[in-house]
């Protein structure tokens, strides 16, 4: 029962990711795509959580956190890129 529920949710997450990839490909604007990427990252993270339960292991719990951290960092990077073109400034003019 529980296993079935978990399996279903993993599939649902996979579908989510697939749909997000569609948005990522069709856009139309760059921020759209970044949002899609963020969604993909966050959902991958959730999936890894569920998968850990299914595999019965704690080996991947680090991955959850790291995915959270880095999907955030990449979103920021893309946002800054879109907004300012520069990701890391030498000296901010304010």
């Amino acid at each position: 029962m529980i296993q079935t529920m978990l399996a279903i949710s993993v599939v649902l997450f996979a579908i989510t990711i697939a749909i997000a990839v569609i948005r990522l490909i069709i856009g139309p604007s760059m921020p759209d795509r970044v949002i899609a990427m963020d969604v993909i990252g966050v959902n991958l993270l959730a999936t890894i959580g569920v998968v850990s339960i299914i595999y019965g292991t704690k080996a991947y719990l680090e991955v959850i956190l790291i995915l959270g951290i880095l999907s955030f960092i990449s979103t920021i990077a893309f946002s800054k890129y879109i907004e300012r073109g520069v990701i890391v400034e030498r000296k901010r003019d304010r």
Partner: protein
């Protein structure tokens, strides 16, 4: 069913609902008309769904293995802290890079502050649409 199994079931239920939430919100990402509205779906619904799922995972490990996973807890906190910031930044970037609002939008008090004169708005919107389609 002992209490552990109940706990596990609840956890699984949380996870399942989280995944359902995520599918629904991702539909929003497809359906909604512009990047701003889509970001609503993304930052919130998907955050919620992930939070639900991770809490489920946390609970599962708690009940099944009697294991307090700090990493998952940290993960929850992390998503909680970063998701709104990410949403805010990407929306701001979108606006500042002149991604147009959907036609159904009714109000824009920010336009003049960022992009200046209201009159050019229509043109630029048209231009942006041409670029992005």
């Amino acid at each position: 069913m002992n209490e552990n199994e109940i706990g596990e079931f609840i956890a699984a239920l949380l996870i399942l609902s989280g995944s359902i939430f995520s599918v629904i919100s991702v539909f929003g990402i497809i359906r909604l008309p512009d990047v701003y509205t889509r970001s609503h779906a993304a930052t919130k619904s998907s955050t919620l769904s992930v939070l639900l799922t991770l809490i489920g995972v946390f609970l599962y490990f708690l009940f099944h293995d009697h294991f307090v996973s700090v990493r998952v807890l940290l993960g929850i906190v992390f998503v909680f802290l970063t998701a709104p910031v990410a949403g805010h930044l990407i929306i701001r970037a979108a606006y500042r890079s002149k991604v147009g609002l959907a036609d159904i939008s009714v109000e824009d008090e920010l336009y003049e502050v960022i992009h200046g004169n209201q009159d050019t708005k229509i043109e630029e919107k048209a231009k942006n649409e041409a670029e992005h389609s």
